[in-house]
Structures are given as structure tokens and as C-alpha cells.
């Protein structure tokens, strides 16, 4: 892995008026990895993602995505990325299939209809594909949202809090999708405030706090930052999530999703 990093950020700063959001962010994301940017609300995760996806201009520092500078070559950056924002970026009045066709047309791809149909199948949305997105559940919307982001196979994918507001089953479906993508070589930068999500998905994790990266590494490296674990005997109780998934039969649901 001596290739250029998929995302390279040096000394990035951004303020809104007097309010400094990013105060010098340095970050390097190797190609083909899942990278989690952790932080509490207001830590600047979304601002960072917006700068990387050319929606905002930084005040200082540099950022490059897929080898292109976001400030000087924004068109090339936009050709290499897809953004799945905090709110599902779908058109509620159009059907699921029309949403996919729309993005394929805007990316000027051949056969937008066929692209849409194959993505509907892959994301278990073939059946509701002809219905308006306004009637979809939160999980279906998010799946469609991610499906729209995959059109044109961009090498770098930004997922800004992809599972916020989703029920546990939908969350697991999104996780599976993300892992599958990384398996195909896509670089995924995801922001999240759920620690277990980062732990479960990410190859590397960075913690953004008060506008800076205060920790950056693999999970094992981050664990070394803490004093060695003390051995304690604790009776293993199932978590509420385990119980919830067991009683609603999550395996069935996930199975059906995959088969549809």
C-alpha cells in the first residue's frame, strides 16, 4: 500500500464568524479502507466532510481527495466521490427507481434504467422500486440513498452519520453494505457518534474533538493509549440490542433483505 492516500488533509481550518469549528485537522486515509471519524455533536465532523466533498471552502490548510486538491480541482474531486449526507438525500416525490435513474443520467452513464434495476435488486428494493420514496421507511430511504451514491462506482465514499435514526435491523444492513463496498476496494470515510459502529466497521479510527484530531489509529493502537486492562469477573448479560434482535428475529429480516 504505497499508493497515494485516498484522502490527505493538512492543517485544515474553518470558522463561522468568531466560532472556530476546525482548528487544524491533519488526517491521512489509506485507499481501500474504512475510516471512521468519531466525535460528539458539534465536533466538526460534518464540516470536515463538507469541505472534502467541495460543498464548503476551507479557511486554511489543504485537503486532497483521490489525488485532487479540493480547492483548485473541485470538478475532479466531485468526479471521484459520492456523498451520503446526514439526511437521506432522496427525492421523495419520485419513485425509488426514478431516483436512481436521475443520478445515473446526471453522471451521464449508458443504460440508466439497467443500472437502476440492478441496484434496486442489490439493495432489496425491487418491489418498492415503483413506489414514491415518500412512502418508504427510514431504513429503505437510507438504503436507496446509499444505492444512489454507488452509481458510477466512485472510488471514495463519504457517509455522514449513515445510521443515525435507523432501527437496529436497518443499521446492520447498512453496516453489511459498507463492509461489502470496502471489500471491493472503495475507500469509505464515515462519521459517527456511535462508538460501537466505529469499532465494528472501521479499519482506522480518528477522534475529532474541539476542531482537532486528538487520536488516530487502528482500534488496537487506540486501546494501547489506555492503561492495560484489569481482569475482572463480570457475569455476561445480553445487551438490550441482543434481546431486541433475538425477539424480533433479526436474522430472518436480514435474510429477506438479502434475497429480495
Amino acid at each position: 500500500m504505497t499508493t497515494t492516500p485516498a484522502i490527505e488533509i493538512v492543517g485544515l481550518t474553518k470558522s463561522y464568524g468568531d466560532h472556530a469549528v476546525l482548528t487544524g485537522v491533519d488526517l491521512s486515509v489509506p485507499a481501500g479502507t474504512i475510516f471512521a471519524l468519531l466525535g460528539s455533536n458539534g465536533a466538526g465532523k460534518t464540516t470536515a466532510v463538507k469541505i472534502l466533498s467541495t460543498l464548503l471552502r476551507a479557511d486554511g490548510g489543504t485537503a486532497a481527495v483521490h489525488g485532487h486538491d479540493v480547492a483548485t480541482e473541485p470538478e475532479k474531486v466531485r468526479a471521484s466521490i459520492s456523498l451520503t449526507g446526514q439526511f437521506a438525500a432522496v427525492d421523495e416525490i419520485l419513485t425509488g427507481r426514478e431516483n436512481l435513474v436521475l443520478v445515473a443520467q446526471l453522471r451521464r452513464l449508458d443504460g440508466p434504467g439497467a443500472i437502476a434495476d440492478s441496484l434496486l435488486e442489490r439493495f432489496g428494493l425491487t418491489e418498492p422500486g415503483g413506489q414514491r420514496v415518500g412512502t418508504y421507511s427510514g431504513g429503505m430511504r437510507r438504503r436507496l440513498d446509499i444505492a444512489m451514491s454507488l452509481i458510477g462506482n466512485p472510488p471514495v465514499l463519504f457517509l455522514d452519520e449513515p445510521t443515525t435514526g435507523l432501527d437496529p435491523q436497518s443499521r446492520i444492513e447498512v453496516w453489511k453494505t459498507v463492509q461489502e463496498l470496502a471489500g471491493r476496494g472503495t475507500t469509505v470515510l464515515l462519521t459517527t457518534q456511535y462508538l460501537d459502529e466505529a469499532e465494528h466497521l472501521a479499519d482506522r479510527i480518528a477522534v475529532l474533538h474541539q476542531g482537532r484530531i486528538i487520536a488516530d489509529g487502528t482500534l488496537a493502537e487506540l486501546k494501547q493509549l489506555l492503561p492495560p486492562a484489569k481482569v475482572e469477573y463480570v457475569e455476561k448479560q445480553p445487551s438490550l440490542e441482543d434481546i431486541f434482535l433475538a425477539i424480533v428475529g433479526h436474522d430472518d429480516a436480514a435474510h429477506q433483505g438479502a434475497q429480495q
Binding site: 466533498s53 460543498l55 466531485r78 459520492s82 449526507g85 439526511f87 432522496v90 436521475l102 446526471l106 414514491r132
Partner: protein, 253 residues
């Protein structure tokens, strides 16, 4: 890039036209207020308004057409606001497409929607006895000036569409535009108004535009009103376009 402007605008135009086809009520609501005013003023107040012997529906229609556009662009702002406040605006802006195509898609949709509403209003006026001997050229001139007026107000509507924080803020901006025709020659001759009001009425854009369209319908010479109306429309269009584009760019900084 420039070769793709048309392709991208075309795709986005078809998208928002589909929105209108799926909620045709936006066209009906746009047309219903002006039609109600037409009915109210022709059949209730009209008898007491002296417009010098002309048929009142003929006198009133040009002003009603302007009100139609003023109420129609509220939906333009609303559609824009919906895209911006949801996530789809950011999706489009982070895609490799021509950035201005997003605005042009909405602007052209607004033109199509407003022209449709205008046709509805004219049809109702015809049923109420509106008659004109205007020839093809005069009609083309009327369509041309309505098109310019629609474009100018549409670009104006882009600004609240991009900046509004709430739905109320979006729709609120069009009310003054709807009421501007009341203080003009649209409903009553300006000579009947007291001094300062008359001065305002005669120097605001609606009066010259209304007078121009009225003269065209009545096959009278348009005179200087035509140039004043054209200057207002083009001037408003240029200012609104510049402000809207500046707002758009600052949104992405």
C-alpha cells in the same frame, strides 16, 4: 463543462416538471387566487368602478396576469427550499455536474408552471367575456413581456428559496408582490388616487407593464409605456439574477 449545461439542466428540468405533474394542485392553487379576484372585481366591485366605458374584464385582465405570476413564483421558492433543506441539494452539488444547472432546472420549471397558470386564467377571462382583436404580433409581444416578467420574478424567488429557514419565510415574500398591483393602474385608473399614492402608482413597474399589455390587447399604440415596461422587466431580471447567483455562490463558501 459548457456542453453539459444543457444536458444537466434538461435532466433536472424533467425532474421538477415531474414534481408538478404529480402535484397539479400547485398549478390550480396558483391560478385560483387570480381567478377569484377576477370574479370578485368583475361581478361585485366592477359595476362601481369607472374605467371610461371600456369592458371591465378587458381592463382588469392584464393586472390579474401579473398577480398570477406573483403568486406562482411562491411555489418556485418552495420547491427550491424543499431541495435545499432536504439533502438532495448537497447531493447534486457534490456530483460532477454543472453547478448552475440546478438553478436553471428550477427556473425553467417555474416558467413552464406559470405559463400554464396564465393560460388557465386567460381561458376563464374569455369565458367571462374578455375579448381582444389583438393580432399575432400583439399576442407575441404580450407573451414576450409576460415571459420577461416571469423570469425576473422567478430569479427574485430563488433568493428566499435558497436562504429561508422556514416554510413560512419562503411563502411570505410573495405577498407584497401580489399586493403591488392594487396600487397601480391594474384595478382602477391612477387619476382617481390622491397625490402621493398616484405618484407611487405611476412610478412603480406594475403600471407601465399593465398599460403596455392593455394597449396591446386594445390595439392601441403602446407609446413610452412599452419602453418603461421593458426597462423595468429587464432591469429587474438583471438585478434579481445577479443577487440570486451571489446568494447561490455564498451558499457554497
Amino acid at each position: 463543462m459548457t456542453t453539459y449545461v444543457f444536458h444537466d439542466t434538461d435532466v433536472l428540468l424533467k425532474r421538477s416538471l415531474r414534481h408538478i405533474l404529480r402535484s397539479p394542485d400547485t398549478i390550480i392553487t396558483t391560478a385560483i387566487t387570480p381567478i377569484a379576484m377576477l370574479l370578485l372585481f368583475v361581478y361585485v366591485f366592477g359595476g362601481a368602478i369607472d374605467v371610461g366605458g371600456a369592458s371591465y374584464v378587458n381592463y382588469l385582465l392584464p393586472g390579474i396576469l401579473l398577480i398570477t405570476v406573483a403568486s406562482g413564483i411562491a411555489y418556485t421558492a418552495f420547491r427550491l427550499f424543499t431541495d435545499v433543506s432536504g439533502g438532495i441539494f448537497e447531493r447534486f452539488q457534490s456530483m460532477p455536474i454543472t453547478r448552475s444547472a440546478f438553478l436553471w432546472g428550477h427556473v425553467l420549471t417555474s416558467v413552464v408552471a406559470n405559463l400554464t397558470s396564465l393560460v388557465l386564467v386567460v381561458l376563464v377571462a374569455l369565458a367571462m367575456g374578455f375579448r381582444t382583436g389583438a393580432g399575432v404580433l400583439a399576442w407575441l409581444a404580450v407573451i414576450g413581456i409576460m415571459l420577461l416578467f416571469t423570469l425576473a420574478l422567478t430569479w427574485l424567488a430563488v433568493i428566499p428559496g435558497l436562504t429561508a429557514k422556514t416554510v413560512d419565510g419562503v411563502s411570505g415574500f410573495s405577498y407584497p408582490l401580489i399586493f403591488l398591483p392594487f396600487v397601480s393602474s391594474a384595478f382602477v385608473p391612477t387619476e382617481s388616487m390622491p397625490g402621493p399614492v398616484q405618484w407611487f402608482a405611476e412610478h412603480q413597474p406594475v403600471t407601465s407593464i399593465v398599460n403596455t399589455i392593455r394597449s396591446l390587447f386594445e390595439q392601441q399604440p403602446v407609446g413610452s409605456d412599452g419602453w418603461v415596461a421593458l426597462a423595468w422587466c429587464v432591469g429587474l431580471l438583471i438585478v434579481a439574477y445577479a443577487l440570486a447567483m451571489r446568494t447561490y455562490r455564498s451558499k457554497l463558501a
